[in-house]
């Protein structure tokens, strides 16, 4: 009997392997679904015990303790935790497969100012990394290019789909800019940026001309770079600023404001705390890069990075969390970054908010996703336990706009394959 089951398993696995170890993209939601009796973490700081959620055609229609189940497929989630799908900003997912193999990387375009470069077209839905992120609760990723100084234009992708057109959630929503630093940190010391003045002049020219260009509807000669930057000046695109040092933050934000950039996000808030008042005054939200890193200075308290979300929130800023952009394979630890924030000052719901509603707000998609509220997209994760803790994180169901995901991934596949080998040996 057992042998038979093993055999069937193996057959199934083989069949699945034929699909290049990528789970089949889900079909659109056909019937209403109700997740019944779970612990609902709304994503806005609220928690509703023993509650249900109903969604139809990809949209949440009801959330609460008494939810209409008529005509719906009911999934019992008693005692389980229901979360908004986690949102990961600032990542090379889909552009970056294997770090050391250049041919698998589409991350950095040649040139210093490349706003015209669009991450969405290189996003590889067949990347083996994607499904491993879903397995830990991440449903949406802002896919970005890297580079000095304007890296490109980013899009927000849903982690399911046959191709990038399927998968795109918000197209070309922002531009990534590494602010021209006064100093570079590299090889153990900080060295002054010798081309600082020249580079600043170039940036100055770029933005001055781009903003002037943006005032003409139909220019005689099309400039692709300026076209790409148009949205910065009317608020349809966000400028994501990366600045390592406190002084760079101030200079970068001042620069962008001066040139009439409407939406600015500080995408690397490592030193944001030092200029928190400035950021608050200008209403600049902050994304913190992976919390699991060492303090920048030997004299800094060892848990300083862990405490930053709490400290920045206390300073009145909107804070989101990301992971190192060039580590898509590590980004499945995003929920545990939030868990760490909960261990160091925030309460658990506030910590969850960092990777759900706050990230959605920062990315400008909070009207559609980021919390489990009526009218929002049904991008939902159900975990057996506390999603933010390794001991609890076990995603059992996941939905993107109501589509129920196949939660298999390459790792689970290989696990089952070899487990069956050793299980068989035991018998």
């Amino acid at each position: 009997m057992i042998k038979k089951i093993t055999f069937i398993w193996a057959l199934l696995l083989l069949a699945w392997q034929a699909q290049a170890q990528i789970p089949t993209p889900a079909k659109p939601q056909s019937a209403p679904i109700v997740l019944q009796g779970g612990i609902i973490h709304v994503g806005n700081g609220q928690i509703i015990n023993n509650a249900s959620i109903r969604f139809e055609k990809g949209i949440i229609t009801e959330v609460g303790t008494s939810v209409n189940t008529s005509g719906a497929r009911v999934i019992n989630v008693q005692g389980k935790h229901v979360y908004p799908g986690l949102i990961l900003p600032d990542n090379n997912l889909g552009l970056h497969e294997i770090g050391a193999v250049r041919s698998t990387l589409d991350v950095r375009e040649q040139g210093l100012f490349n706003p015209e470069v669009r991450s969405v077209v290189a996003y590889n839905t067949d990347s083996e990394v994607i499904a491993t992120l879903r397995s830990n609760g991440i449903m949406l990723v802002q896919v970005v290019a890297n580079g000095r100084f304007i890296a490109g234009t980013s899009s927000i992708m849903e982690l399911d789909g046959w191709n990038w057109e399927d998968a795109v959630h918000t197209m070309d929503e922002g531009i990534q800019m590494q602010w021209i630093p006064r100093m570079y940190s590299g090889r153990g010391r900080t060295v002054p940026n010798r081309r600082f003045k020249q580079q600043r002049r170039e940036a100055e020219n770029m933005f001055r001309q781009a903003s002037a260009y943006a005032k003409i509807d139909k220019p005689a000669k099309i400039n692709l770079k300026f076209e790409a930057m148009r949205g910065l000046f009317d608020g349809s695109k966000t400028l994501y600023l990366y600045a390592n040092f406190a002084k760079d933050i101030v200079e970068g934000v001042t620069f962008a404001k001066k040139h009439g950039v409407k939406r600015i996000v500080l995408a690397d808030g490592t030193e944001a705390l030092k200029v928190a008042d400035f950021l608050k005054e200008h209403n600049i939200p902050v994304i913190l890069q992976r919390l699991h890193r060492l303090p920048m200075y030997t004299g800094t308290g060892v848990d300083h990075p862990y405490r930053l979300p709490y400290l920045l929130k206390k300073a009145g800023l909107t804070v989101g969390l990301s992971y190192d952009s060039s580590e898509p394979m590590g980004a499945r630890n995003l929920p545990f970054q939030a868990g760490t924030a909960a261990a160091y000052g925030l309460n658990k719901e506030e910590a969850l908010q960092l990777v759900t509603l706050n990230n959605a707000k920062i990315l400008g998609i909070d009207k559609k996703v980021g919390s489990l509220e009526k009218g929002k997209q049904a991008t939902i994760v159900v975990s057996k336990g506390d999603l933010l803790d390794m001991l609890g994180n076990k995603v059992e169901h996941a939905f993107i706009q109501g589509k129920q995901l196949d939660l298999l991934d390459k790792h689970k596949y290989l696990y089952k394959l070899f487990k069956s080998k050793y299980d068989a040996k035991k018998k």
Partner: protein, 1038 residues
């Protein structure tokens, strides 16, 4: 014309003072002069501890013939009266490159030269020399020496008479020559042609990659010494080796080893003791960081006096980049010599290339160094170290006439060195004033008298003023003296500005002036001045100035000075932020009512007490009585064994030798860095022990260091005593150098096929070596690389092998089995799950990452279920970090084994404690909570596997090395100390001095962190630069 003549005269003098007989021809008539002088009425330091006042020194033919009080001026000697002046033996510097050719060093980094040298396996030096290009014992300074008059002059100006010089290039640098700083024929200047041998840790101009690490350098030194021994005993019959010939011929000379910091000094001492050798250590100036260990070396030191400048700290954001260690060193560097003197360390001083030498020496004296020791360190000690103290370093009959004449005490105030005599030759640095004219003189100008001429200032550069009768203030005089000639000009009628001045020209003699001049009408007058008496005391300036701000000024002056002294910071251990003022000590403790994860049969015990006595776990149970032990409340907390990291690269000064396929000879124990902040950071994550591994750049790496994270102890004390030896092996992409693009294609192996053969070859050679060793005899050459391989084969040293894919894992097990030993641990082992059954059968453990993958091709199949699957197959599984950041969350990484694969929590915790201890053969001592084991424990605030758990206390052998509450205090202290130092820096330099803030970030070492451009630095041997990580860069590629 005149100058030319003078110059010729000087030249003549120089060439003719010399000894009667020389080997070279003399042009013209023999003008032999003996240089026969008697210096009288001087205060003479005949040696560093003997001061004779009113003494006479007689020299002849470049040597001292008599010295002392009451010595009569011999007939025929030229007498020089030195009343009021001092004579000291001249200074000796033992660490110079004086008059040596500059070593050729490539300027900056050249890609072409780098590419060419990357696969250079033997020396490019032509001839029958050593295989390694940085082993240069054949270099002989006396053959390279030729006087450098410009440099000599600079040295003499500082008061030096003799220097030891060597060519500062390479690890083994050959011999140094002791030479004087006189001008003359080279033949006369060399006092001792082969006076010393020289060593350093710097590869210098060598283009050969090996060694490219600190531990490789140490290994090379060891092996070369063994080779020299073998060569002397019979190896010379097998090969001719001019380098070893030279080494053996000079090995009894005093050996000087350059240390870049105190840590180097301790390693030098370690090697010295291994080989029964004695090194004089050229120190670095930070010896006070570990004074006890420095003292324990018993070595003599040659020390520089270089003090860091104050940082620019006025901008608080920039100032943050200056580390506490840098600030503290700025404050305390000048106390180094006082610390060493107090500890009784024997030292000499070096001024080479240091224009601030005297200024800094005076500062060091202010900080507590005694003048006597300072003089000793500049005269007697260097002479003694060169075994020349019967000829140099003091002024006694028969010794070299090398001395200086000074205006006063050498170490005080603004004294001047007037003359520097080297080998009896006179070099005038500053004209000695022959007349002290200071005083009040009665002045007559033509027919007018009643004036007073006041002569003040310094002898040699007097200042003049005139007091007219009936005038309370002085009349300004512009005056100049040249030799005994004087020129004065002044305006006697103060009201008439712009009138013709009275101008005088004259000559001075003892207590009088006379001469001629022209008065305000242009009439020629005669003038004279005769001594009347001493100058009146100068008016007190302070009173005048202070009146307005008296309160403030006085307060400031009075309070500042004593306060500055008491405000000196303390030395902390280690000398970085969060260092301890006192090292943690073991104490008896009773931890009460904790949830105890025993890792033993008892499992997890609720509400249980653990008693710690004498650094060991004494008892586990309920309601234990404390006795005298300190009680720690463990209620609501979890107690686990300390975390053991099987794979770590923290606390290391260097990580990869990697230049050769096999570097089994290198020892990580030689490069343990006790000052790494990551020790403390990891204590905060409950880590108590770690294996510090060599990197993975080559198939056979180096020998591991097993340490406990005893923050504050010196490197040797971090090592776990009597632990089994380990060695790093590595397979796959790193060792076949597949990530170097077009570079580095010359080294074998380039494929996994070649990797196997490297191992087969190494063990085959080791087998043969074993036979040769058993046979012994003169032809047997001890080879440290093969010794290590043999230890592996004989199960005396154990392998931890970096490995990823199943084929290579399988291969290595087969190689081991063929040579009849077992692979102890496969580390990383990300495809271990594919061959876990084979591993279990072989007996290999697996030490893996929890969830890392896809950072390179060979880890594309890595899965987070690896630990669970290997565990299921019966492999002893550990989870390691290989990363300073992750190491402080190893408990969380263990929890991922629960998430991925459902390993029971207790078993998951074992993966970072007991199992790691097992893999390190330390499980009898650590890894579980059991009576008799080391009290290495962590008290957690919650279930240690949860993301919410924090270490509250981390205990090693009964001593609390991390305490969350103390940590808060320490943070406040760091802040306070920084504030104090910033204040001091600001007050010192006004703007804070000259240096820019330069951030020194932490070096974080990974075993194969060779991403992108870092490879270049890595291969070029610049280890410190390579592995430096930045928060902004992505640093988790393994």
């Amino acid at each position: 014309m005149k100058q030319k003549y003078l110059f010729l005269m000087l030249m003549l003098l120089c060439t003719t003072i010399a000894q009667a007989q020389v080997t070279y021809p003399v042009n013209g008539v023999a003008d032999n002069r003996e240089g026969y002088y008697a210096f009288t009425n001087a205060t003479i330091y005949t040696d560093y501890q003997t001061k004779v006042e009113g003494a006479t020194l007689v020299i002849r033919n470049g040597k001292v013939t008599a010295v002392g009080k009451g010595v009569k001026v011999p007939k025929g000697a030229t007498e020089i009266d030195l009343k009021g002046k001092y004579i000291y033996p001249s200074m000796i510097d033992l660490y110079t490159g004086y008059a040596m050719p500059k070593p050729k060093r490539s300027r900056g980094f050249s890609f072409a030269s780098f590419a060419a040298s990357i696969d250079q396996f033997i020396s490019k030096k032509k001839g029958a020399y050593n295989w390694n290009q940085t082993v240069l014992p054949e270099v002989n300074a006396e053959q390279l020496f030729t006087i450098d008059q410009k440099q000599a002059k600079k040295w003499r100006k500082m008061g030096f008479g003799t220097v030891l010089t060597h060519k500062q290039d390479g690890v083994m640098r050959g011999t140094g020559a002791l030479v004087t700083l006189a001008n003359g024929r080279d033949n006369e200047l060399i006092l001792k042609g082969q006076a010393s041998t020289h060593y350093s840790f710097s590869k210098g101009s060598s283009t050969q990659p090996y060694p490219n690490s600190m531990m490789g350098t140490v290994a090379l030194i060891r092996q070369t010494m063994l080779d020299a021994d073998w060569y002397a005993k019979g190896g010379s019959k097998k090969e001719k080796n001019l380098s070893l010939d030279a080494f053996n011929a000079t090995k009894k000379l005093p050996a000087i080893f350059e240390a870049r910091n105190w840590q180097d000094a301790l390693i030098i001492d370690k090697v010295a003791k291994e080989f029964g050798k004695e090194f004089i250590i050229r120190g670095s100036g930070d010896e006070y960081h570990r004074i006890a260990e420095i003292k324990a070396t018993g070595a003599s030191f040659i020390l520089p006096l270089r003090f860091p400048k104050a940082f620019k700290v006025e901008d608080p954001l920039d100032a943050e980049m200056v580390s506490l260690a840098q600030m503290k060193h700025w404050e305390l560097a000048a106390t180094n010599l006082a610390h060493l003197e107090k500890a009784g360390v024997n030292f000499a001083l070096t001024a080479a290339g240091n224009p601030a030498f005297w200024k800094n020496l005076k500062k060091a004296i202010k900080m507590g160094l005694s003048e006597k020791t300072a003089l000793k360190a500049l005269t007697h000690t260097p002479a003694q170290l060169m075994k020349m103290d019967n000829q140099l370093g003091s002024l006694k009959k028969g010794m070299y006439a090398n001395f200086i004449i000074t205006s006063g005490n050498l170490f005080k105030g603004k004294n001047s060195i007037y003359e520097n005599w080297v080998q009896g030759k006179r070099y005038v640095l500053k004209t000695m004033p022959t007349l002290d004219l200071r005083g009040v003189y009665a002045l007559t100008l033509g027919t007018k008298s009643g004036y007073e001429l006041h002569v003040s200032g310094k002898p040699g550069s007097p200042k003049f003023a005139i007091k007219q009768p009936g005038d309370s203030t002085n009349t300004k005089v512009k005056g100049k003296m040249s030799g005994s000639l004087v020129t004065l000009s002044f305006n006697l009628d103060k009201k008439k500005k712009g009138a013709l001045k009275t101008r005088l020209s004259g000559w001075a003699a003892e207590k009088k002036f006379a001469g001629t001049g022209e008065d305000a009408e242009g009439k020629t007058i005669a003038w004279a001045a005769t001594y009347k008496g001493k100058l009146p005391p100068p008016p007190q300036k302070k009173d005048k100035q202070g009146k307005g701000k008296q309160g403030k000024g006085k307060k400031g002056n009075k309070k500042k000075k004593p306060a500055a002294k008491s405000e000196m910071g303390e030395v902390i251990y280690p000398f970085v932020a969060f260092g301890n003022k006192e090292k943690p000590k073991a104490e008896d403790m009773l931890i009460k009512n904790a949830t105890v994860w025993t890792n033993e049969k008892d499992g997890i015990l609720e509400n249980t007490d653990v008693l710690i006595k004498n650094g060991k776990i004494a008892k586990i149970g309920k309601n234990l009585s404390a006795g005298g032990a300190k009680v720690v409340d463990g209620k609501g907390k979890h107690l686990t064994p300390g975390i053991v990291d099987e794979h770590s690269h923290i606390a290391l000064r260097s990580v990869n030798e990697g230049s050769q396929s096999n570097s089994a000879e290198v020892r990580m124990e030689d490069v343990v860095d006790s000052e790494d902040i990551n020790i403390y950071r990891q204590l905060s994550g409950g880590v108590t022990a770690a294996q510090l591994l060599h990197g993975s750049a080559n198939p056979v790496g180096g020998q591991s260091a097993l340490i406990k994270l005893k923050w504050g102890e010196a490197p040797e004390k971090l090592l776990i005593p009597n632990a089994d030896g380990y060695i790093k092996f590595a397979l796959g992409e790193n060792v076949k150098r597949s990530r170097y693009g077009f570079l580095a294609r010359g080294r074998y192996p380039q494929t996994r096929m070649g990797v196997e053969q490297v191992f087969v070859d190494a063990f085959t050679r080791a087998k043969e070596y074993k036979a040769a060793k058993a046979k012994g005899g003169a032809s047997f050459r001890k080879d440290l690389e093969l010794e290590a391989m043999l230890e592996v084969m004989e199960k005396k040293r154990f392998v931890s092998c970096h490995s990823y894919v199943q084929s290579e894992i399988n291969m290595l097990m087969k190689v081991a089995e063929r040579f009849n030993f077992r692979i102890n641990t496969f580390t990383h082992i990300l495809e271990g799950y594919k061959v876990a059954d084979k591993m279990a059968k072989h007996g290999a453990g697996g030490s893996t990452f929890s969830d890392w993958w896809a950072y390179k091709y060979e880890v594309k199949d890595a899965i987070p279920y690896n630990a669970a699957l290997m565990h299921q197959a019966g492999v002893v599984v550990a989870i390691n970090s290989d990363d300073a950041e992750m190491a402080r969350r190893l408990n969380q990484e263990a929890a991922k084994a629960v998430k991925y694969g459902g390993v029971p929590q207790e078993e998951a915790l074992k993966m970072v404690t007991l199992n790691a201890a097992k893999l390190l053969h330390l499980d009898k001592r650590i890894g579980s909570i059991k009576a008799g084991k080391d009290a290495d424990l962590v008290l957690w605030t919650a279930n240690p596997l949860s993301i919410y758990a924090k270490a509250d206390k981390t205990i090693i052998e009964g001593a609390v090395y991390y305490d969350a509450k103390q940590d808060e205090q320490k943070r406040a202290e760091v802040k306070k100390e920084r504030t104090r130092l910033i204040k001091k820096m600001m007050s010192k330099g006004g703007k804070g001095g000259g240096k820019r803030p330069i951030m020194r970030r932490q070096r974080l070492l990974h075993c194969d962190d060779l991403g992108g451009e870092r490879i270049l630095w890595h291969l070029s041997g610049d280890q410190d630069k390579v592995h430096t990580e930045q928060a902004t860069e992505h640093n988790h590629k393994r």
